[in-house]
């Protein structure tokens, strides 16, 4: 009975302003898919371009190229030469950014509606006619090396994450850090860039999402004018490598002069569009979302073993890892914290979770949806993410029901299935002298 009530509750209250039928989609002749949602709450709009390319498409020698490429996309094309992409966009009131992950490269433009035509022109020009200026390539290498360095400098977790990910995967390219290895950043060639562009920046490899103060009709006609003429490229190579099942715990250690040690545990889990996604996502919330979550309340608050604890369960096209990490409190050894985290996982496996706990994280998911749908950027990013990782943006609208269907038994089952010792990679980052 309780399940039924929850189900109704979700369906009645979710997304009062945006309904699935408010979204329009069409596919251009060259295969580029466009998704549009009109939202006239502010006189602004955005354009998100989701490219299905990330470090997962790399190999030794060109590691970090997807991310470097993301930078190069701003460095000049036929009509808008070096610097002109940013200058033109900003002069028209727009701003932009981009991000790269293991799976995707996403370009984001935010602008007053008056700039819509210019934005289309800018994007079309760089997709169709990107140019590779030698001077720009060299200068951009410096920028990316600085980005790599500042990440490592300011966040020890970066360093540990690279090592743990590298150890958890030895076959699948998920072993490659998104930023790439320093030696590759310094050595890849213009030809590598050109080949990469031709392979992955074909219109059929892209989903465009536009949300804001626009009309579907004007977006359609601008898409046909600017995007449709872009030539179709070859189909990218499929990633067919499957990481062999892990058959024993792996451990890595990183030395760094930190005041207290960091502990990271990674377990292999299936890709986002698997049936266990919703249970794992709720389990993640049970572990670390909010002060009453299991790991926070037990490790930080009650027992004071850690000053910080968190999890990562990212969207992924292929089976990826569910990661838990913490920073030790003063005088707590990493072994102690590691054992305590594992004990909490074992508790879920042995005793399961309570009905109230499950209801709590379902309520939290609902609020997350509301917050996402409060802004045009939240809407665009989420619609695109669902389209890519779940295979259909409509899944966004059924997500509340999909979460509601998860039972306490499901949570216990996925915990038992994935949080095993032999499926685990443990990483410890600590100062040299502490291990002597």
């Amino acid at each position: 009975m309780k399940q039924l009530i929850i189900f109704l509750f979700f369906t009645v209250t979710i997304l009062p302003q945006t309904r699935v039928e408010d979204i329009s989609t069409f596919t251009l002749k060259n295969g580029m898919k466009i998704i549009v949602l009109e939202d006239h709450s502010i006189p602004n709009a955005n354009m998100y371009l989701f490219w299905k390319v990330g470090s997962r498409n790399e190999y030794p020698g060109i590691t970090g190229l997807s991310h470097f490429f993301e930078h190069m996309m701003f460095n000049g094309s036929k009509k808008y030469g070096p610097k002109m992409f940013d200058r033109t966009m900003e002069a028209n009131g727009g701003a932009n950014n981009a991000y790269t992950s293991e799976n995707v490269t996403v370009y984001t433009d935010w602008f007053p509606t008056s700039a819509l035509d210019v934005i289309f022109d800018l994007e079309a020009d760089r997709i169709a006619n990107l140019e590779f200026d030698d001077k720009m390539i060299e200068s951009e290498r410096g920028v990316v090396l600085s980005e790599r360095s500042t990440g490592l400098e300011n966040n020890p977790l970066w360093q540990l994450w690279e090592q743990v990910q590298g150890a958890a995967f030895f076959a699948h390219p998920y072993s490659i850090p998104v930023i790439g290895y320093e030696s590759d950043i310094k050595n890849w060639t213009k030809k590598d860039l050109q080949t990469y562009f031709a392979t992955y920046y074909s219109p059929g490899n892209c989903v465009v999402v536009i949300v804001g103060d626009v009309t579907v009709n004007e977006v359609r006609s601008l898409s046909e004018k600017y995007f449709e003429p872009i030539a179709v490229g070859p189909s990218p190579r499929k990633i067919h490598t499957v990481e062999p099942e892990q058959d024993g715990e792996r451990r890595v250690e990183v030395k760094r002069d930190v005041p207290s040690p960091y502990v990271m545990l990674a377990h292999h889990v299936p890709q986002t569009n698997s049936e266990d996604y919703y249970a794992l996502s709720l389990l993640e919330s049970i572990l670390t979302s909010g002060k009453t979550s299991r790991l926070y309340s037990s490790l930080i608050d009650e027992r004071q073993l850690a000053i910080e604890v968190s999890t990562d369960y990212s969207y992924a096209f292929d089976p990826f890892i569910f990661t838990i990490y913490g920073i030790c409190s003063k005088d707590i050894t990493p072994a102690h914290l590691e054992a305590a985290i594992i004990a909490e996982l074992d508790k879920v496996i042995k005793e399961g979770v309570t009905g109230e706990e499950l209801q709590k994280v379902k309520n939290q998911k609902l609020m997350e949806f509301y917050h996402t749908m409060e802004t045009i950027n939240g809407k665009a990013n989420t619609i695109g993410t669902y389209e890519l990782f779940f295979g259909d943006y409509k899944k966004l609208f059924s997500a509340p029901q999909d979460f509601a269907k998860v039972t306490a038994e499901d949570i216990q089952r996925v915990a038992a299935k994935y949080f095993t010792k032999k499926n685990r990679t443990v990483g410890i980052l600590m100062a040299e002298e502490e291990t002597q």
């Binding site: 209250t13 302003q17 502010i42 602004n44 930078h71 610097k83 940013d86 200058r87 900003e90 002069a91 028209n92 009131g93 701003a95 950014n97 981009a98 991000y99 790269t100 992950s101 602008f111 007053p112 008056s114 200068s139 410096g142 920028v143 600085s146 980005e147 360095s149 990440g151 490592l152 400098e153 300011n154 966040n155 977790l157 970066w158 998104v178 930023i179 002069d257 005041p259 207290s260 909010g290 009453t292 930080i300 004071q304 968190s310 990562d312 990212s314 920073i327 003063k330 109230e356 209801q359 709590k360 309520n363 609902l366 609020m367 509301y370 917050h371 409060e374 802004t375 045009i376 950027n377």
Partner: protein, 484 residues
């Protein structure tokens, strides 16, 4: 904290630098842009949504703004209870604000956390340089469950000893941890270096030694002194009816003002230094692979009438991707992932600084270049095309800053504390549009420091110590030394 799985092109910013809303206004670009930018673009003008404002008999100032897009409500409360009131107990304001959530007269810490977590609602409490802010967000159907807790948190905290001790231990570890990240702490060093013993030099987070000395009586004393209803501003924004909400909130506070109407004052000008020369503070972090630096001096306070126009110039200089600073230090030379400049505005003071980071071996090259760009701003000024571009940018990026109810609630409490009226929003575009080249160059001369600049660097001292002497008199400390 989430793993940074994705690396991004240009998102980076300094954290923990106190309350500053204007920082969101970022603008940029220089040199000649196509003719299309010579005319300022006409945007749909953004206006502050309708709201109601009451000063209750007990002195509480209440703002109510209905927004019905999603069934959520945000409430934001602000007290003049930030670090400027720390006196000798550095970190007291921040610790007090944080500790409001450790338990109240009617709710234990556990009850507060369980209620909010279960509903998917959120509550946060923190203090910055000048104010303490407590915010909640929740589904409108949960109003009756969360409102009484919120009111108890801001009026009846008990600071239970056991929870206080636990929090203190963790606070100390966090302080130590923060120094692992130069970017997280350099702002505190800078403020201290600029303001010295003036109250605006107070480090919000406190230091190891000052936090160690805090006890719960300090918190009780601070709370009694600085969290007074007569000074409280509350903004409620979201899906509710203003009339009902007013009655509800009014009924939850004492009707009449408390007898204690002691008027607290603070000498905001005490010990303000005048810089007769450039000085350099070098923080040695032995394992650094890069140098993180801030260069600047005094800025302006919130009540400065030129505040919007200053942001237009800062947009050009270091406030957007194509800004002169980022163009030189990142795009042209690849010395850094990012370079920018910023004005931080307080009620009675402000700072201006250039910020960036670069590999140890390019430290001098990067700093020299940043200084060259600042010099160019003064000697060359800006041209029409650049100014127009900056105006368009700053106007085009304005509406999304106030898109959510949470952002609007923050805006209203900020307006309350800093005494801004609606014209701050409603005349924003007019103030931007009115700017001429002559005016732009006046703003540069008047507000952008030119000489006696102050430098703060965090890096590997052995590799840069000698070379930075040319910038001014160097004071060197270890980053691990207590405090800032």
């Amino acid at each position: 904290m989430k793993r940074s799985t994705a690396t991004t092109r240009r998102i980076w910013m300094y954290e923990c630098m106190g309350v500053c809303f204007l920082t969101i206004i970022q603008a940029f670009s220089h040199t000649i842009i196509l003719s299309l930018v010579f005319c300022s673009t006409l945007f749909a003008q953004f206006q502050l949504p309708k709201y109601e404002n009451y000063i209750l008999e007990n002195g509480l100032t209440l703002y109510l703004m209905e927004q019905h897009e999603v069934p959520l409500i945000y409430i934001s409360a602000i007290f003049p209870a930030g670090a400027v009131w720390d006196e000798s107990k550095s970190g007291l304001a921040a610790f007090t604000a944080d500790a409001l959530l450790l338990g109240t007269k009617n709710y234990t810490k556990k009850q507060i956390e369980e209620t909010f977590d279960f509903l998917g609602a959120s509550i946060s409490s923190y203090a910055g340089k000048e104010t303490a802010e407590i915010t909640i967000s929740f589904k409108k159907s949960d109003l009756e469950k969360v409102l009484p807790i919120f009111i108890d948190v801001i009026t009846n905290p008990t600071f239970p000893q056991e929870e206080f001790d636990k929090r203190k231990k963790r606070w100390l570890a966090e302080l130590e941890q923060a120094k692992e990240s130069p970017r997280r702490v350099i702002g505190s060093y800078f403020d201290k270096f600029i303001f010295g013993s003036n109250v605006y030099g107070n480090a919000v987070s406190g230091s190891q030694s000052s936090i160690k000395d805090l006890n719960r009586e300090d918190l009780q004393g601070f709370f009694g002194m600085h969290y007074r209803i007569s000074k409280l501003g509350i903004a409620v924004v979201g899906d509710f009816s203003a009339g009902e909400m007013k009655n509800k909130i009014e009924s939850m506070f004492p009707r009449t003002p408390s007898l204690d109407q002691l008027n607290l004052t603070i000498d905001v000008n005490k010990d303000i230094k005048r810089f007769e020369k450039s000085n350099v503070l070098l923080l040695d972090k032995d394992d650094s692979r890069e140098t993180t630096f801030l260069i600047g001096g005094y800025g302006v306070s919130w009540n400065n009438k030129d505040i919007t126009q200053i942001q237009v110039i800062n947009t050009i200089f270091g406030g957007r991707f194509t800004s002169w600073l980022n163009d030189e230090l990142r795009v042209n030379t690849g010395l850094t992932y990012g370079a920018r400049s910023r004005f931080t505005n307080y009620k009675n003071a402000g700072t201006f600084y250039i910020s960036s980071f670069t590999a140890n071996k390019t430290t001098i090259e990067a700093i020299d270049l940043a200084l060259e760009v600042l010099d160019r701003l003064h000697t060359e000024g800006v041209d029409e095309a650049t100014l127009t571009s900056a105006k368009n940018y700053i106007k085009g990026q304005f509406p999304p800053r106030y898109e959510t109810s949470g952002e609007l609630a923050d805006l209203l409490t900020t307006m309350y504390f800093y005494g801004l009226d609606d014209s701050y929003i409603n005349d924003f575009e007019k103030n931007v549009d009115e700017m001429t080249i002559e005016r732009a160059n006046e703003i540069i001369t008047k507000y952008f420091p030119k000489e006696n600049l102050q430098f703060v660097l965090i890096g590997k001292a052995d590799e840069i110590r000698d070379k930075i002497k040319k910038y001014g008199e160097v004071t060197e400390k270890k980053i691990t030394d207590d405090g800032f």
